[in-house]
Symmetry: C2
Subunit: 214 residues, 2 copies
């Protein structure tokens, strides 16, 4: 059988995008306008053009459906279980992104009937296998954090160690010991002092910045 | 245009599999029997069946082409640049695996004219974008190591800290300070003492095992 006659799967991209609002980890979801799973909430995404690079497709779909643009994507994983899409074999390449707290305005467009941020700890039922993709994204985000990788999108240019700890706690969903946290962050060379001081509740706190922007 | 008429890409899987031989990091490559890139060396892999899960396809292709089986796969990344395959748009899902040092016998089969281990520091020219995939695999392996993730495949059940350090040095391609290494490994709770001692060159060395098997 010539190569051109083998049946081919469909390929899509999805973008799991998180932000922090009031120290609460949130994810951007869209409500589907069309079948399958019409009316259900889903991770923004769609089909890859036949000549379109994967990351270009991911950025295009994100902007078309939610209005969000200018984000840095990290490839998360590819999900291809037969049966995950009732329309036929569909393999999806999922991406992870973080949005700075001040840039979270969204507007639904294209195939999305609605678009909004949902707190990760209370999500609606999701279309397709999107609950599995979201769980994987959360695991990856927590892994990045535990490996002490910088998350510059979620913090201002300079910050106190207490602010950094609050971001960690929001994402990990647990309280951390300040002494252990301070020791681990400093020994990992993740941040450096700016030399500046901020007064907070009558105390002087040193300001830090990430040593390496990703 | 109905969904069924949109042009669809081809989807393949590839498996980058490493081992250690004489403290040298090696990767398994196959020589291609057919065009494109006939006669060139490549990462083992091939087309995904229309009803076949991605990981099943990866394990099948690895065994068909090299005889290697019973390995644990970790999904590495998906590569889909238009133009990476002269036959048409092809998106490949790449996997990473490690093979224990004692299990490295291979035999070429299926689409492979030859199969052998190559030292990572002196590779032949590779087909497709496989040099890029391999570079990504190496980066991931080193990342896993730096994040102090256990690599139980590459070590015996129990080992000395010097043996563990030798594995790290082979993969990172650099010498490590034994004191710093010891402190980091122990503080990361990666390993635990077995209570046994091994005599080596007249000195007693404590034996360790990984705390959590992955």
């Amino acid at each position: 059988m010539p190569l051109s006659e083998f049946p081919r799967p469909m390929v899509t991209v999805d973008v799991v995008i998180f932000t922090l609002q009031e120290q609460d980890l949130q994810v951007l979801l869209v409500r589907r306008k069309h079948p399958p799973f019409e009316g259900m909430w889903a991770i923004p995404g769609g089909f890859v053009g036949i000549d379109e690079p994967l990351e270009t497709a991911a950025l295009r779909e994100l902007e078309e459906e939610t209005g969000v643009r200018d984000v840095r994507l990290e490839q998360l994983a590819t999900f291809g279980d037969p049966g995950r899409d009732p329309r036929g074999r569909t393999i999806t390449v999922a991406y992870l992104a973080l949005l700075p707290p001040g840039r979270t305005t969204v507007r639904a467009g294209d195939d999305a009937a609605d678009a909004r941020w949902w707190p990760v700890r209370s999500l609606p039922p999701l279309a397709f296998d999107h609950d599995r993709i979201l769980a994987c994204a959360l695991q990856k985000l927590r892994h990045n954090l535990r490996c002490m990788m910088a998350l510059p999108e979620l913090l201002p240019e300079t910050f106190t160690l207490r602010e950094l700890q609050a971001v960690y706690e929001a994402i990990l969903g647990e309280k951390l010991n300040p002494h252990t946290f301070r020791r681990r962050v400093l020994s990992a060379d993740l941040v450096e002092k700016t030399g500046e001081i901020r007064k907070e509740a009558g105390r002087k706190r040193k300001l830090y910045r990430f040593r390496h922007k990703l």
